[in-house]
């Protein structure tokens, strides 16, 4: 789950990271009022959960409250990479001497958190990583020990940070680490961490990603979810415990397991169809979950055929069949359905579906071909 810049910086601040004293505005008028209170030049920043908003024109530095209101009016109407801008952050404009990158993420290959710093912070940090990798300093953190003081010194020395800033940098690194750890983050990033013209360190932009697997124990963060990140169907799916991603094709898919769901999409494409969605009902799904999944698939008006590909392991074929039958009792549809059940309790499942007027298939290839044909009305 992604957090907005404003929420991320608020969390960082709770752990002692210095951030600008800005506020959120939902209307141009509010933006003007906030700018007036802050006094002087401000920066108006679109709050959208996508990178590259500065380059897309979603960040503007202005000198007066009136200009802030105008900038907010412009930005609040924008659509950045498909996401509507509903909020802007008004931060005091900062005189920047230099920009540092500071972030923590998980190095899955090393199976450890890694803290990354660079003296070449700012919007082009990924390019720096690709072209001048020596400018990126990485320090792995032992997950059993947590961030150690020497880890921070290694970073400070690595980026040749002026010694006058070491104490402040130490506080910021510690704070960022605590924010990462206590929030179950998979990313906590300050870019840029600026050295101001007044020679202070300040986190002027922040991002956090929260581990979806840990949301159950992060109730406060769960409330910060931005629904614009998902389509309504995706929200509905998440609430039913399903993983669903809407796509543009015409063949709805219901599959158990992410790998098989992807392979099912791949094979639909291979045989000339286009998948309408990715849908993983997960392991051990019960009839209720399957019924919810089918309702979500059929809400998509582009769907011309549905392909069920269930290879039971922990998921039982009979449970899936019960779910399909339960859903079909409440939804009237003439969309053709192709069912392929195999594995645990598949025979029981097939028996339950025998009278349900469905196209059956033995193999994945056969199922995909039949679904592609059915979608073409053949």
């Amino acid at each position: 789950m992604k957090l907005h810049e404003f929420d991320s910086k608020k969390i960082f601040a709770q752990y002692g990271v210095p951030v600008p004293k800005g506020k959120i505005a939902k209307t141009p008028k509010e933006a003007g009022e906030i700018a007036k209170k802050l006094g002087g030049a401000v920066v108006v920043k679109a709050q959208v959960l996508v990178g590259g908003r500065g380059k897309a024109g979603g960040v503007k530095v202005v000198k007066t409250a009136k200009q802030a209101q105008d900038a907010a009016k412009q930005i609040l109407g924008m659509d950045i990479k498909g996401l509507p801008v509903r909020k802007v952050l008004i931060d005091p404009a900062i005189g920047i001497a230099s920009e540092i990158y500071l972030g923590i993420t998980n190095d899955r290959a090393a199976r450890q958190p890694v803290m990354i710093a660079s003296a070449a912070g700012g919007v082009d940090i990924e390019e720096v990583a690709a072209t001048n990798p020596e400018k990126i300093i990485r320090v792995h953190v032992n997950p059993l020990l947590g961030l150690q003081d020497y880890n921070i010194r290694d970073l400070a020395v690595g980026i040749e940070l002026d010694r006058n800033h070491w104490a402040a940098f130490h506080t910021i690194c510690k704070g960022l680490w605590e924010a990462y750890k206590n929030s179950d983050a998979t990313l906590a990033e300050i870019n840029p961490l600026v050295i101001t013209k007044d020679n202070e360190l300040l986190a002027i932009d922040g991002k956090m990603l929260i581990d979806d697997n840990a949301i159950f124990r992060q109730p406060k963060l769960a409330k910060l979810r931005d629904m614009d990140e998902e389509t309504p169907a995706e929200t509905q799916a998440r609430k039913s415990g399903l993983t669903y991603i809407q796509l543009d094709g015409e063949i709805g898919c219901m599959v158990n397991g992410a790998g098989l769901a992807m392979a099912t999409m791949d094979i639909i494409k291979l045989f000339g169809g286009e998948p309408a969605n990715f849908l993983d009902i997960g392991g051990g799904a019960n009839a209720e979950k399957v019924a919810a999944a089918l309702r979500i698939i059929l809400q998509d008006k582009n769907v011309k055929a549905v392909l069920f590909n269930i290879f039971g392991g922990i998921t039982r074929g009979d449970e899936v069949a019960k779910g399909i039958l339960a859903a079909l009792k409440t939804i009237k549809t003439d969309v053709p359905m192709v069912v392929r059940l195999a594995g645990t309790n598949a025979a029981e499942g097939r028996a339950l579906l025998a009278d349900a007027n469905m196209i059956t298939a033995e193999t994945l290839a056969e199922a995909a071909q039949k679904a592609v044909q059915a979608a073409k009305g053949k």
Partner: protein
């Protein structure tokens, strides 16, 4: 014998009294797995599965009483990290964790601790392992596989079943099948299992099933080109997946451009691996 477990492997099941625990333990017993005990704190002293399997309050007590060398974990996710640590401390050699949805930071801590104890882990979020004809630890459907000379290692549970099923249709069988699980931080990875297959006298050919995300398949490709003499056939799921919306730069800095299906397929092909377009092509490619 299989690379990790055989008919002599003695298994305790943590979480045996839950619905899923009972259902799959029953299937394992029917398959011939030595399910020698179960663990459920607060239910020690009871017997389950028609009085065949004793339940203990802790893994330590279960291991002492039964001589188990393997623990299979099928507990609710909030208890899973604790269950793995408990199993490691109780002295089992191998842990198979089926539970799905464990927070990533918990997994990093658990893996670091297990490594310090020298305990092997399969999973989490995996279907477990199957040594056809001998033992299954997990929920890979046993009747979909027959014994044979093909080692199967997979990041995806249900895709594993597809492959075993397709192999069986043409009379081909597996020496050992390992579902390593799809989580970013896990126990044994492709490289570990590939090395075991390379050294295993009963394995002649290997099937490796990967998917998009991370760089484990690219690392496996490097390993295969340097160290493997046995032929490998691969499959990568996710060619049709749309590129994910990404935020933040740290992931890109750590992993570079790795992770896409085409990159993985290219890396494997370069390493001499034949990569299938869909799972049912695999048996032909092994001939």
């Amino acid at each position: 014998m299989g690379i990790l477990a055989d008919k002599n492997t003695r298994v305790v099941v943590q979480g045996i009294t839950g619905n899923e625990g009972l259902f799959h333990s029953q299937r394992m017993l029917e398959y011939g797995t030595q399910v020698v005990g179960g663990v459920r704190p607060g239910k020690g002293g009871e017997w389950v599965l028609d009085g065949k399997v004793p339940v203990f309050d802790s893994v330590k007590v279960a291991v002492d009483a039964t001589g188990a060398d393997c623990s299979m974990i099928i507990v609710p996710l909030a208890a899973a990290a604790d269950a793995m640590l408990e199993a490691a401390d109780a002295g089992v050699r191998l842990i198979v964790c089926l539970t799905e949805g464990i927070p990533l930071q918990d997994m990093m801590r658990v893996r670091a601790y297990l490594d310090s104890k020298g305990v092997l882990l399969i999973g989490p979020n995996c279907p477990g392992l199957l040594t056809p004809g001998q033992t299954k630890i997990g929920f890979i459907p046993g009747d979909n596989a027959i014994p044979g000379n093909i080692g199967v290692v997979s990041r995806s549970g249900t895709l594993t079943y597809e492959v075993l099923y397709a192999l069986k249709q043409v009379g081909m069988g597996s020496s050992t099948t390992v579902g390593i699980g799809g989580d970013p931080v896990k126990g044994l990875n492709f490289i570990d299992i590939l090395q075991m297959f390379e050294e295993d006298p009963l394995t002649d050919k290997v099937v490796m099933i990967g998917e998009i995300g991370g760089s484990d398949e690219e690392k496996a490709a490097e390993y295969i080109s340097k160290h493997m003499t046995k032929p490998v056939v691969g499959f990568i799921a996710g060619r049709a997946a749309p590129p994910g919306k990404r935020m933040g730069h740290a992931g890109a800095i750590v992993e570079g451009s790795a992770g896409g299906a085409e990159d993985k397929i290219a890396a494997l092909t370069k390493a001499g691996v034949r990569v299938a377009d869909y799972p049912e092509q695999i048996p032909d490619m092994l001939k």
